[in-house]
C-alpha cells in the first residue's frame, strides 16, 4: 500500500481540485474539465508509449489527433447523395490513381533497384501521376463543393454510429504512423522530432484546405453523439421527475407555483447538461481504464521488458537478436493509434470538427508537457500529467486574474498597468505551463510519478 501512496495522494488532490471547481464555479464546468482531462490522459498515454516505453520522440501528435477527428466526420455524418452523384466517381477514380501511383513507384524501386535511370522513371511517373490525378479530381472537387456550399459542400460520411468512428480514428492514425514511421524512424532523435512536427503540419493543412473531404475551415457542426441530447432530456418526463426529486428541498421553499415552475425549468436545463457530460465522462473513463489495464499489462510483459531494453541500449538489444527497427515501428503505430482514438473522442465530445483549431502549440507541445510532467514511462504518471496540465491550462486564466487583482488592489481601477495585466490574464497559462515544465525538468526530471521497474530478486 505504501508503494502506491504517492499515486493515490496525487490523484486525490486532483479529484479534490476538480470538485472545488464544481463547488466554486459550476458542476458543468468541472465536468467539462474532467472530460478534457480524460481525453488528454488518453493522448498522453499514446505519447508516453512512444517516448516512455521506446524513447521515440513524436512531435506529430497534432496530426494524429486531427486524423482521429476526421474519422468521426467521415464515419458518423449522414452521406450527401447529391455530392456523391456530382463528383463521387472522380474522387474514387483519383483515389485509385493515387494507390496505383504508389504501387508503381514501389514496383520501380523493387524491380529496377540497380537501373541507371531509376530516379528519372520515378520522378517522371510521379509528375505524370500528379497531373493526371489533378485532371481527374479537379472537376469532381468543384462539383462537390458547389453542392449547397453553405451547409454541405462535401461528400459527407457513412452515417454509421459515432462510437464506431473511434476505432476508425485509431486505424487512420495507425495508417499515418505506418507511413511516417517508414519514412522517419531511422532519423536521430531531434531530427525525428522536427520531421514528425512538419509532417503533422502537412496533414493538418490538407484537412484544412480540402473542402470536399470535411468542409475544411468551414467546420462540420452538429456531429452525432453517443449520449442523449440535452433538448430531448429537457422534454422527457422521467428526467424532469428525477430532477424534481433531487431538488425537492429547494423547490419546497418556494411558495408560488409559477416560481416553482421557473425554478424547476432552470434546474432541468442545468441538470441536462450535467447529465450529458456525466455520460461522456463514463464513456471516456471506461476507455482510460481499458487502456490503462492494457498498457500496464504490456509494460510488465516480456514485450515491455524488450521495449525497455531497446530504449535503454539499442545496440545491446540489437546484439541480443531483437529487431529494433520493427519494434520501433510497431510502438510508433500503437502510440499514434491511441492518440488518434483520443482525437476522435475529443471531436465527439465537442460535437464539432474545426480543422482550423489544430495548432502545434495546443496539440503537440502541451501534450508533451503532460508526458514530461507526469512521468515518462509510467502510465499512472502519464494520466496524472494529463490531468494536472490540462487543469492548469484551463484554470490558469482565472487563477492569474485572481492573483493580479490581489496584487494590484492598491492600484486604481483605471490604472494602465492593471488594465493591461487583466487584459492579458489568459496568456499567463503559457507562463505557468512553461515555468512548470522547466522546474519539473530541473528538479524532478523523471516527472511527478517516476517510472518504477520492479526487478524480481533471485
Amino acid at each position: 500500500m505504501r508503494k502506491y501512496f504517492n499515486i493515490i495522494a496525487a490523484y486525490s488532490i486532483m479529484l479534490f481540485l476538480i470538485i472545488m471547481v464544481g463547488i466554486f464555479q459550476s458542476w458543468s464546468i468541472a465536468l467539462s474539465i474532467l472530460n478534457y482531462c480524460l481525453i488528454s490522459a488518453v493522448m498522453t498515454m499514446g505519447a508516453n508509449i512512444q517516448w516512455g516505453y521506446a524513447g521515440l520522440i513524436n512531435f506529430g501528435i497534432m496530426g494524429y489527433t486531427a486524423l482521429g477527428g476526421l474519422a468521426v466526420v467521415l464515419v458518423s455524418v449522414t452521406p450527401v447523395p447529391e455530392a456523391w452523384s456530382a463528383g463521387g466517381l472522380n474522387i474514387i477514380g483519383s483515389l485509385i490513381l493515387i494507390i496505383s501511383l504508389v504501387l508503381i513507384v514501389r514496383l520501380i524501386l523493387k524491380k529496377y533497384k540497380n537501373h541507371k535511370y531509376k530516379n528519372y522513371f520515378i520522378t517522371f511517373s510521379i509528375i505524370f501521376g500528379v497531373i493526371l490525378i489533378r485532371f481527374v479530381a479537379f472537376p469532381g472537387i468543384e462539383a462537390i463543393e458547389a453542392v449547397n456550399p453553405a451547409k454541405t459542400g462535401f461528400l459527407g460520411g457513412l452515417g454509421m454510429p459515432v462510437l464506431f468512428s473511434w476505432i476508425i480514428g485509431a486505424i487512420f492514425a495507425a495508417g499515418l504512423a505506418f507511413i511516417v514511421g517508414k519514412i522517419a524512424l531511422g532519423l536521430r532523435a531531434d531530427y525525428l522530432a522536427i520531421a514528425t512536427l512538419l509532417i503533422a503540419e502537412i496533414v493538418v493543412s490538407i484537412i484544412k484546405h480540402e473542402d470536399w473531404l470535411a468542409r475544411g475551415v468551414k467546420n462540420v457542426i452538429g456531429l452525432k453523439r453517443p449520449v442523449p441530447y440535452e433538448i430531448d432530456l429537457q422534454t422527457s418526463p422521467w428526467f424532469i421527475n428525477l430532477v424534481e426529486k433531487l431538488h425537492q428541498g429547494k423547490l419546497n421553499l418556494l411558495s408560488s407555483v409559477s416560481d416553482k415552475k421557473d425554478m424547476l425549468n432552470q434546474l432541468v436545463i442545468d441538470a441536462s447538461s450535467v447529465y450529458v457530460k456525466l455520460c461522456m465522462t463514463g464513456l471516456f473513463l471506461s476507455v482510460v481504464i481499458i487502456l490503462l489495464i492494457l498498457t500496464q499489462k504490456a509494460l510488465y510483459s516480456p514485450w515491455g521488458r524488450k521495449m525497455r531494453a531497446i530504449r535503454d541500449n539499442e545496440e545491446a538489444a540489437g546484439a541480443m537478436g531483437k529487431n529494433v527497427v520493427k519494434e520501433h515501428l510497431l510502438i510508433f503505430i500503437l502510440g499514434s493509434a491511441i492518440v488518434g482514438l483520443a482525437g476522435a473522442m475529443m471531436v465527439t465530445n465537442d460535437g464539432l470538427f474545426t480543422p482550423g483549431s489544430y495548432r502545434p502549440m495546443r496539440y503537440t507541445f502541451v501534450i508533451w508537457v503532460m508526458v514530461i510532467v507526469g512521468g515518462t514511462g509510467n502510465n499512472f504518471g502519464a494520466i496524472l500529467g494529463g490531468f494536472v496540465v490540462w487543469f492548469l491550462w484551463v484554470e490558469a486564466g482565472p487563477i492569474a486574474l485572481y492573483l493580479i487583482n490581489f496584487f494590484t488592489t492598491h492600484l486604481d481601477e483605471t490604472n494602465a498597468l492593471k488594465v493591461h495585466l487583466i487584459e492579458s490574464a489568459p496568456y499567463f497559462r503559457f507562463l505557468m505551463i512553461g515555468v512548470g515544465l522547466l522546474v519539473i525538468m530541473r528538479y524532478r526530471p523523471k516527472g511527478l510519478i517516476p517510472e518504477k521497474i520492479n526487478v524480481k530478486k533471485i
Binding site: A193, L198, L431, L438
Partner: protein, 340 residues
Amino acid sequence: MEDNLELLNAVILLLNYTVIPAITYGSQLALGAIFVTLIYGVLRFANFATGDMMSFGTMFAVLLTYYFQSAGVGLGFLPTALLTLPLAILAMILYMLFIDKFVFKYYRISKSAPVQLAMVSVGVMFVTQAIIRIIIGPFDRRFMDGEKFILKASEFKEMTGLSEGLTIKSTQAITLVVTIILVSTLFWFLNKTKTGTSMRAYSDNEDLALLSGIDPKKVVMITWIIAGFLATVGGVLYGLDKSYKPFVYFNNMLPIFAAAIVGGIGNPYGAFLGGYVIAFAEILVTYAYKKFFIYLLPEFLEPDSLVQLLSTDYKFAVSFSILVIVLLFRPSGIFEGKKI
C-alpha cells in the same frame, strides 16, 4: 520586336511576383536558419524556441519604434526600426544570456542528451511566448514607416514602356542589404578571427577543443551573442516586410527548421542557402503562371486555368515536403561540407 517585348514582359512578371519576394523571404528565413544551425552546431540541440526568440527581439524593436515615433525621432526615408535595431539586439542578447545562465547551462554542464535540451527549449518557448503576449499582446502590428517604395510599378512602366510593372519595396531592398552585410560579417568572423575558429573547433570536437585551451564559457557566450543578432535582425526584417504577429513568428519556426535541415544542420553556409531553397520552392510551386504563359505562348495555346501547381494554402506544406524528401534521401542535407 513584338515577341521580344512579350518575352521581357514575361520575365518582369516573374521577377516581380516570384523572384524578388522569394529573395526577400529567403533572406529572412536564412537568418533564422543560421541561428538554428549555430545553436545546433555549438550547443548541440534543436532550439524549439527559435520563432519566439525572433519574436522577442522584434517586440523590442516594435515598442522602441513606437517610442521613437512619439518622440519625433526618425531616419527620414528609412524605417525607424533600423534605428532601434541595436537596442533591440542588446535586449535580445541579455535575455538569451539570462535564459542560458538559468536554464540551459545546467543541462550543458551535466551533459544531458540533446533530446532533453530540446524539451527544455520547449519550456523556454512557452515562457517566451507568454512574456511576449503579456507585454505586447497577440495582435497584428505594422511598424514600417518611411518611404514605402523604391520603384513603383507605374514609374517602371513609364520608364520602360512595358505593360508589366516592376515594384521594389524599400523593405525588400533593406532586407537584402542588411542580410548581405550581416551574413558576410558572420562568415568573416567564423573563418578569419581567432574566436570564430575556436567556435568551429568547439563545434567539431568539444573534447579536443577543450584540451587545446579553448574556453567553453566564452564560446557559448559568443554563440548566444551572434544568435541574438541573427534572431533580432531576421525577426525585424520579416516584421518590416510583412507585419509583426507573435503567432506568425511561432509558425515561422517550421520553415526555418526546414531550411536549416535542408542545408545540412550545423552548417551555416548550408543554412543560408537552405533559406533560399525553401523560399523559392514555396513561391514557385504556389505561383499561378497563367499570365506568364499568356505572354509567352501564341494565342491558340493560351491556358484557361490558373496553371498553378498547388494552391497557396499549401505554401508551408511545400517546404515541409521538401524537407521530408531531403531527410529521406540525404539526411545530412543538400549542402554537406564543413560544419561550423
